[in-house]
């Protein structure tokens, strides 16, 4: 793959093996290390950084100071630079946790601007105009000026960085990054600690940039703070943008291009300028890199958004199409279900869900007022009410997306009222969303793997090294996902993106994602929305199966009356945030308060044969979007 490019380039016929070309390759490799780090942070985790030049500067100056200043061997300085820059990245992550979009971009710009200023202010052993000098590292047997020596030193370092980064992307950590980038809400509901993984992304990205900075100063031999400016941060973004935003190989390709191309363009513009000058036209073509970078960014973003890596992938697919993979459709593995049922039955002894006097206010509006309910393990309970009654608000309080003003939420005896959103899955509560919060740009399989996030035991280090234990856990996770997909009869969607699936299947994918973590309570938010009569009937059967075979308790919010009446064992009815009725479907149907709340729609509450025949004008109430 692209990672071998720096090595392969030396094998191209016509490659002049001289100092100059090796120095170009060295720069390409140094920039690809930054590219890989930035790709993890911005491409994968979606955190825009316009301040990586600052991190590069920190790495460079740390290495310079520790090696020449304190006399350490270069390799030790490199490690110092990596650790210290990583630490700065960690500090940078903390304010960044609260920011996103333009606010985050500004903060990183500020960082990038501040670092060279601070360095200059601290007056780092600047030896006159030439800046800070360092003794270039080299291997025994080579002269200090031999870039070939450094080529041999840098090449394995790039390989290691690439290896670690690739392992991350193939495991829990990489998926967590993607989840955060896609939709923070769903990521939290899947138990992905937003803060934790953002910090990890910043720290690792910074550490890698620190390595690059150290190698940079080792390569050039001297640095000055002006080099590390906004234009350099932009260059880094260009590298990953033209390489392909979340591909690591693309970062390497982009770095290669952006090192070699300016050389080429420089020569070209010098040549042009000379010819024009000789022809009598006095034109200055200094600093062509601005026009070059600008044009490259615009052209790539507009016409080749997946970057070089994406284009390469397309070419590969055109000429060597991958054979259609045979997806083995396993019928639901009874051993797995048995295992789950044993787990669930062990929990039966615990109390179920208890909501006590829940009140939720938004400014002057009371969305939910003094709401109380209970749900026993294994029950199917419905929460119904007209539009705006507060049903989804109750769900959002359960999920901790809202903080209740009053009241207490208890699950299995545990007070979950103020529990962070990302811990819900750990205590066995899963949910689906009214507007679907799937990771649209990830495959269905990836969605289901993220759904198991809290259950995966991989640590950060075992992720980076892809230990055999991690490998096994990944395989097991995929197997669990396949079994749930088979249970829901959507095995064929495994490799597809939810964005390209019909709505009904997308709902099943979200249900699968909620199930795969083996919850004990599942919150379904309008599962029948947008479904026709046939699909609704199938869904009711499916929910009953989920309860019967997995022992999962179900709390659902729904508008479709016939669906709810047939499926739920008990109902709670909300109107304007208050509970107006509770009980079995029969009891609730004939409650005058409920009928009054549904004025004009009471035909839907009656579901007997004769009623259906006499009321031909009955139309099923269309699910209304709140």
């Amino acid at each position: 793959m692209a990672i071998f490019a720096p090595f392969l380039m030396t094998l191209i016929p016509g490659f002049e093996a001289n100092n100059y070309t090796y120095s170009i390759l060295n720069f390409a490799m140094i920039y690809s290390i930054v590219g890989i780090g930035l790709s993890l942070l911005t491409g994968y985790a979606g955190q825009i950084s316009l301040g990586h030049s600052g991190l590069m500067a920190i790495g460079a100056y740390t290495a310079a100071q520790t090696s020449t200043g304190f006399g350490m061997p270069f390799f030790v300085s490199l490690l110092f630079a990596m650790v210290f820059t990583g630490f700065i990245g960690f500090l940078l992550a903390l304010p960044a946790l609260r920011l996103s979009g333009p606010y985050l971009a500004v903060a990183t710009v500020g960082f990038g601007v501040a670092v060279p200023q601070i360095i200059k202010y601290l007056n780092f052993r600047t030896d006159g105009i030439e800046g800070l000098k360092i003794d270039k590292p080299n291997l025994p047997g080579f002269s200090p000026e031999a870039d070939l020596a450094r080529y041999y030193m840098i090449l394995p370092i790039v390989a290691i960085v690439f290896f670690v980064a690739t392992n991350l992307t193939r495991t829990k950590v990489g998926r967590a990054f993607l989840a955060i980038r896609e939709t923070e809400i769903a990521a939290q509901a899947m138990g992905v600690g937003l803060a934790r993984y953002k910090v990890i992304a910043f720290t690792i990205s910074a550490a890698m940039t620190g390595i690059a900075g150290a190698l940079y100063v080792g390569q050039i031999g001297r640095i000055s703070s002006e080099e590390f400016n906004l234009l350099q941060s932009i260059l880094f973004l260009v590298i990953i943008a033209i390489g392909g935003l979340n591909t690591l190989g693309g970062a390497v390709a982009g770095a290669l291009l952006m090192t070699i191309l300016p050389e080429f363009v420089n020569r070209l513009s010098n040549f042009l300028q000379e010819s024009l000058n000789n022809a009598g036209i006095n034109v200055q073509l200094k600093n062509p890199q601005y026009i070059l970078y600008g044009l490259l960014i615009i052209l790539f973003v507009m016409f080749l958004p997946e970057g070089l890596a994406g284009a390469w992938q397309r070419i590969l697919n055109r000429f060597w199409p991958a054979p259609p993979e045979v997806v083995v459709t396993t019928t639901a593995d009874h051993s797995l279900q048995e295992q789950i049922r044993v787990e669930n039955s062990e929990q039966q002894a615990k109390p179920g869900l208890e909501i006590n006097h829940l009140t939720m206010r938004f400014g002057g509006i009371t969305a939910v007022s003094d709401f109380s309910m209970t749900l026993k393990p294994g029950e199917i309970v419905g929460l119904i009410g007209p539009n705006g009654a507060g049903k989804t608000t109750v769900f959002n309080c359960l999920s901790s997306f809202y903080r209740p003003n009053e009241g207490q939420l208890l699950w299995e005896g545990l007070d979950i009222t103020h529990q962070p959103a990302q811990d819900k899955l750990k205590v066995g509560i899963a949910r689906t969303f009214q507007n679907l919060e799937l990771f649209k740009n990830l495959s269905v399989m990836d969605n289901l793997l993220i759904g198991q996030h809290p259950r995966l035991k991989q640590s950060l280090w075992s992720s980076m090294l892809l230990t055999p234990a991690t490998h096994r856990e990944e395989k097991l996770a995929r197997q669990r996902a396949r079994e749930i997909l088979a249970f829901l009869e959507i095995s064929d969607t495994e490799k597809m993106r939810p964005g390209s699936l019909p709505f009904g299947k997308q709902k099943r994918v979200e249900l699968a994602r909620a199930l795969v973590s083996r919850p004990r309570l599942i919150l379904l938010d309008e599962p029948a929305a947008g479904a026709n009569n046939r699909e609704t009937a199938d869904l009711a059967k499916l929910i009953r199966r989920i309860r019967d075979e997995f022992g999962i308790a179900v709390l659902l919010v729904e508008h479709d009356m016939s669906f709810v009446m047939n499926l739920c064992e008990r109902l709670y009815v909300l109107d304007f945030g208050k509970k107006i009725a509770e009980g079995t479907p029969d009891k609730v149907q004939s409650d005058p308060a409920v009928i009054e709340a549904y004025l004009g729609e009471r035909e839907e509450l009656v579901d007997t044969e004769e009623e259906r025949n006499t009321n031909e004008a009955t139309t099923k109430s269309a699910p209304e979007r709140t």
Partner: protein
């Protein structure tokens, strides 16, 4: 530096610093207004804002220098150019990318800005050129505090434009349509608002604001391709400080940032001005992640 400050009456130093800060802050406010305008209508941050302003100022320079036109002709010419530049950017670069990822949208503006810098450097070189102040004359005095005519103009223009924009958005049909569009594009369309034309209009308007800012600051900094780089970054920070969705916030943020920046330079350290300014901003953002006057758009789950 510190010893000189100690000899002058500290109140004068403070006052002078305040005045200078407000003058620069007015420039930041103008550019920040342009940024917020575009963000409210297109939901994009225009990273090329500074460079577009710089380029328009160069056009004014071309009118003055090459074509030997009087100032007011150059001023209007630059405005017209800015409007066209903003509109065509929206049509050619931004609109086709409406469905692309936010990062792509951000990157294309970064690319444009870089490209404009390169073209300006190519046509006019990277050396600074003098640019005239539209108003010349003896500076005003407030006690011992010197207020240059140019500074008065800057502050005055910023206030005037902020006021005009306020009236425009509050009381004119187009202004109200723009605000509605920013809140709910679909509803605006249903009401007959041509949202696409409106978006192009906001880009034109925003670039014109930047052009005015550029022409007001060029006399101070000398006109060169990287002139607006520092201003753009500070204006960006000012817009964020004020809350990216608020126009009064942009003005407030701009003025505040100008004053903070100048105060830091006077009392703490010239070299670390930007650093402290950003530290303040990041501090504000940590406490109020949406800026001083901004509001968070809550997503309905």
């Amino acid at each position: 530096m510190m010893s000189i400050v100690a000899q002058i009456d500290p109140l004068v130093t403070f006052g002078q610093s305040l005045v200078n800060g407000l003058a620069f802050g007015s420039i930041y406010a103008l550019v920040a207004l342009g940024l917020v305008l575009i963000f409210k209508s297109s939901d994009i941050v225009n990273f090329a804002n500074g460079e577009m302003a710089m380029f328009s100022t160069f056009i004014a320079f071309a009118f003055l220098d090459a074509l030997k036109m009087p100032y007011w002709v150059a001023f209007l010419g630059a405005l017209v150019f800015a409007g066209l530049l903003g509109a065509s950017t929206e049509l050619v670069l931004i609109r086709p990318l409406r469905k692309a990822s936010p990062l792509s949208q951000v990157l294309v503006t970064i690319g444009l800005g870089t490209l404009l810098t390169g073209i300006a450097g190519w046509v006019w070189t990277f050396e600074g050129k003098p640019f005239p102040d539209p108003i010349t004359g003896p500076p005003a005095r407030l006690g011992s505090i010197i207020i240059k005519q140019g500074d008065l103009l800057r502050i005055g223009v910023a206030i005037l434009i902020a006021g005009l924009l306020y009236v425009f958005f509050r009381y004119t049909m187009i202004g109200i349509a723009l605000r509605g569009m920013a809140q709910n594009t679909i509803a605006a369309r249903l009401m007959g608002v041509n949202t696409e034309r409106m978006t192009t209009l906001t880009w034109a308007l925003s670039t014109m604001l930047g052009a005015i800012a550029g022409m007001l600051i060029a006399p101070n900094t000398f006109l060169e391709p990287l002139m607006m780089a520092d201003v753009a970054v500070k204006a960006f920070a000012a817009a964020v400080l004020g809350g990216f969705t608020s126009m009064p916030g942009a003005v407030l943020g701009g003025l505040a940032l100008g004053v903070i920046d100048n105060m830091v330079g006077t009392y703490l350290s010239q070299e670390l001005r930007s650093t402290f300014a950003f530290a303040v901003i990041i501090g504000v953002l940590v406490i109020k992640p949406n800026g001083l006057l901004g509001t968070r758009v809550k997503k309905k789950v």
